[in-house]
Symmetry: C2
Subunit: 241 residues, 2 copies
């Protein structure tokens, strides 16, 4: 019997990829509005390259952007970038379509819920708290805290230990075939690949590790019924592998 459902956070519960893109665009627009002497496409593409090289958690994106564009440092433009970015992130963060509805249904059905996520612990908690979803989750397991990243087995084993369940009693739901699905399957969990966002057309390399594939989180209750040998029809739940 399935007892625990684990979710990835970014682009599974919190709709963050769309938000990040919008925030970056607004940052560049606000910098240009305040006099940054460069056209939008040049600056935006340079920012994407920079994020690609330094990672999205690098704290000096806008400083470095000026350097890369050979523009003399001006704290006014950095501030304009920070404002454009933050205003977007703080006001437009949303949960993924049907995430809240699904969490309510699973809670009512008696499932225990957890999050297994990579990323900066404070920033990840900020998203959960801003979305006011914290009460749904018994535990949030953040890989940075353990010194590893998904799909490292340590983070999934830690999650099972914290909840006191065996791998067979747990399901992992996530949008990343490698990090979430291959990782969870590696410790023996059941896996549900949520085809969503920029990874919905991911390469199929790790798809064999997904027991189920869903396009909408509201398909989850049915998946769980199937796993528990219930009467649910599985015609809209595509078994993977």
């Amino acid at each position: 019997m399935i007892e625990v459902v684990f979710f990835d956070l970014d682009d599974t519960i919190a709709d963050t990829s769309v938000l990040a893109e919008r925030a970056r665009r607004n940052a560049i627009e606000n910098m240009i509005k305040h006099g940054l002497p460069v056209d939008f496409e040049t600056a935006y593409n340079e920012l994407l390259e920079l994020i690609n090289e330094y990672g999205s958690n690098f704290s000096r994106h806008f400083d470095y952007l000026l350097r890369r564009l050979d523009i003399p440092y001006n704290p006014k433009w950095v501030a304009a970038g920070v404002i454009g970015y933050h205003n977007t992130k703080f006001t437009q963060l949303r949960d993924v379509r049907h995430a809240r509805k699904t969490l309510i249904r699973l809670s009512k059905a008696g499932y225990r819920l957890g999050i297994i996520t990579d990323g900066d612990p404070i920033k990840q908690w900020e998203k959960i708290l801003r979305l006011e979803l914290d009460d749904f989750f018994e535990e949030v397991i953040i890989s940075d805290f353990e010194g590893v990243k998904k799909p490292h087995p340590k983070i999934f084993q830690k999650a099972l230990k914290v909840f006191g369940v065996s791998a067979g009693e747990a399901v992992m739901v996530g949008d990343r075939l490698y990090s979430d699905i291959y990782g969870a399957k590696g410790v023996g969990m059941h896996t549900v690949w949520f085809r969503y966002g920029k990874r919905r057309n991911a390469e199929l390399e790790y798809r064999e590790y997904a027991d189920f594939v869903i396009n909408d989180l509201l398909e989850l209750p049915e998946v769980l019924e199937v796993l528990n040998g219930g009467e649910g029809s599985n015609k809209e739940v595509h078994a993977g592998g």
Copy 2:
């Protein structure tokens, strides 16, 4: 003749002390709301002590607060603090009463305006841009950029040089007797002490360096008339010294 009016930023143009206090209170309240096991007064007073010791620009206030309270680290509580703090700072920043009205009047009267401020350049610019006051000021001179703090003469001399005026053609307006008034007088500027906020009842040690004392920024046009030998009555402008 006075040509340039320089303003301090914090608690002269941007109403930041009140805001910072409110932001800190909201941070603690949000941490407690999310389970921080300590009463408000204990946590708040510990935070004030910490800020006193590490400075207000220290980036790890909430981390360190948990350490000081002997509470095990929990990124959820740090995130709750960050959210409470940022939500307040980003939504409740206001200009000081009559600041905008005064800036408009001085602009219309032909004065050139500048800001001379301490603090982190990006954070200072954030305040100016969020208040949408940037178009009033020809230049913003930030002491951190010069490697000094007010009342060091370098920052005031830099301001005069950037504007291309002599000290006698410039007035400095600020709420800090030591940083703003003593500092500006040291290079020969005219000085106006703005009695405002937590420093309105400051000790009188440096008060002799204030040529004028005002309680409302709208008194400034009259001060300037007096300095320029105009017809303005000076009965509500208290000459200092």
